[in-house]
């Protein structure tokens, strides 16, 4: 049933200045699910999210969202589509010149004709959902990292989006705040009837809350499965990730010629 698939990514490719970042990604994100995309830093997770949101044009392949071909849409069409999407940026990206309340109210004020009273009620509900109703008058600079992330979460779901994307929602959080955000992501997804894509490298929190996991490496999907399948997996890549091993198929270096080559090159140049 293709209609069960909200986001369908086919052979997606992307280059930064000729350097390939995504090299043929295939994913199907079913409606109503929370899907995690995992991979080491710099493997192209943020790039993938921005391709789904239409902020970056892929060099090849296709992204289908509902019945829309994201890569072929005009700017105006993309803006219309994005009203139905929410995105949580890696560091929250709250507007620093606005209070917590105004940040959450921002999408409502920009995209709806609601009265200030209705906006107030809605913002209060969203802030209540993330447990920060009391913080509505604070400025972003006065929030802790975890609180800022929760405010950004409330802002991302202010318009009740059908698709919410989270870019590394757990980085820089203490274990308790991390658990809180994880639970919130699941709770909000189910309460809104939304679909969530969560980019992260926190395997343990993901195994607890998501329905399906994709592993990226070298710009490709190298493993995928439900949390149970992942736990039971014998795949060396998955094993390395789950048990945080240093040695394995993942290399943590930026691509470069071998150190020996570079040293010799240096000698000949001088």
């Amino acid at each position: 049933m293709p209609d069960d698939i909200l986001v369908d990514i086919e052979d997606l490719q992307f280059n930064y200045d000729g350097r390939p970042v995504l090299q043929g990604i295939n994913m199907k994100i079913p409606r109503g699910k929370v899907v995690a995309i995992m991979g080491g830093s710099g493997c192209g997770k943020t790039t993938l999210l921005r391709c789904i949101g239409g902020q970056l044009r892929p060099t090849g392949g296709r992204v289908r969202l509902e019945k829309h071909q994201v890569c072929e849409m005009s700017e105006a069409e993309l803006y219309r589509l994005r009203r139905k999407m929410g995105m949580l940026f890696q560091f929250g990206a709250l507007f620093t010149d606005m209070s917590v309340f105004d940040n959450v109210a921002f999408p409502l004020r920009e995209h709806t004709d609601m009265s200030e009273e209705m906006i107030r009620d809605l913002v209060m509900m969203k802030l209540e959902a993330v447990g920060l109703r009391g913080a509505r008058k604070l400025m972003p600079g006065e929030l802790s990292g975890g609180m800022a992330r929760r405010v950004a979460l409330a802002r991302a779901v202010a318009l009740d989006p059908m698709l919410v994307m989270y870019d590394e929602p757990f980085t820089g959080l203490d274990p308790i705040a991390l658990g809180v955000i994880g639970q919130l992501i699941r709770k909000l997804n189910d309460a809104l009837g939304a679909t969530s894509i969560m980019v992260t490298h926190d395997i343990h929190e993901s195994l607890l809350i998501v329905d399906y996991i994709y592993f990226l490496n070298g710009g490709r999907v190298v493993a995928e499965g439900t949390p149970d399948e992942i736990r039971a997996s014998k795949d060396p890549f998955v094993h390395q990730f789950v048990y945080a091993e240093v040695e394995g198929p993942v290399h943590f270096d930026y691509p470069a010629p071998s150190i020996r080559q570079e040293l010799l090159a240096g000698v000949t140049r001088v």
Binding site: Y79, L81, F91, A93, F106
Partner: protein, 264 residues
């Protein structure tokens, strides 16, 4: 190392880079104009920016205007005295201010005070991904953030230049009339007779309007085009101040040569 070929290559590269960036700035300007609807439809957005860039620069403009007027009064009196025409002090002060010093000095001060802070604000919003976040929320950052700041500067600049000139005239009057004792009536009546509304004042207003467009465009462009790091933003701020100053002085020469040809 320094072969002529590599020197030429570097020079060419730098030139191409500059021209490319200039082209980008021109396209950016067109984008601002195209997306200015929001700034006018939602006037509070623009009013807020007029208020910020205006109020930010108000004190420095008023104080500097006063000092420039005081100096003009002293120097002008000193020179006019040699020709025995100290009553012309009013005309001298008023003409220097409305034609040149008002628009030019106010624009230089405006660039370093308000322009730099606009660059910093937009640059930091870029560095902290606020602009990308806004774009993902289906709100165009050029329409919502850049254009109101641009128009805020364009509107604030002539107002500030006018205030600068007014304070300058007051300063010249203080020195000439109050301290040195030039005839009060002569000071004002000569000024009234010698300053032409269209030729002097209006041309000055046009100048400050053009400077306002230039400085505001440079400020928002440098912010929007900054490298999104702390260092990149600080370099962008410096570029705003330097580029604005050069642009203001060059434009002033061009405008003056078109406007004032000793017709009257």
């Amino acid at each position: 190392m320094f072969s002529p070929a590599s020197l030429i290559r570097k020079l060419g590269h730098a030139t191409v880079e500059r021209i490319w960036r200039l082209g980008f700035a021109a396209r950016f300007f067109v984008a601002i104009l195209r997306l200015s609807g929001t700034s006018f439809r939602r006037l509070p957005l623009t009013l807020r920016e007029i208020y910020f860039s205006g109020v930010l620069s108000l004190l420095i403009i008023l104080v500097s205007g006063l000092f420039v007027g005081l100096v003009l009064g002293l120097q002008g009196f000193e020179t006019l005295q040699r020709y025995g025409s100290t009553e012309a002090l009013g005309v001298l002060v008023a003409l220097s201010l409305t034609r040149e010093l008002g628009p030019v000095v106010a624009a230089l001060l405006f660039a370093s005070r308000a322009g730099s802070s606009v660059t910093a604000e937009i640059g930091l919003m870029k560095a902290t991904e606020q602009l990308k976040a806004m774009d993902m929320m289906a709100v165009n950052p050029i329409a919502r953030v850049v254009a109101p700041r641009f128009w805020g500067g364009v509107v604030a600049m002539p107002l500030l230049a006018a205030m600068f000139s007014a304070m300058g005239v007051l300063g010249g009057w203080l020195i000439g009339v109050v301290f040195i004792g030039v005839d009060d009536g002569a000071f004002w009546s000569q000024m009234q007779a010698g300053v032409d509304w269209r030729y002097d004042v209006w041309n000055g207003v046009i100048k400050s309007f053009v400077f306002g467009i230039a400085v505001s465009l440079i400020a928002v462009f440098e912010g929007y085009d900054s490298v999104p790091t702390a260092e990149g933003v600080s370099r962008a701020i410096t570029r705003t101040v330097v580029t604005s100053a050069l642009t203001i002085l060059a434009l002033d020469f061009v405008l003056t040569s078109f406007m004032f040809r000793g017709a009257s």
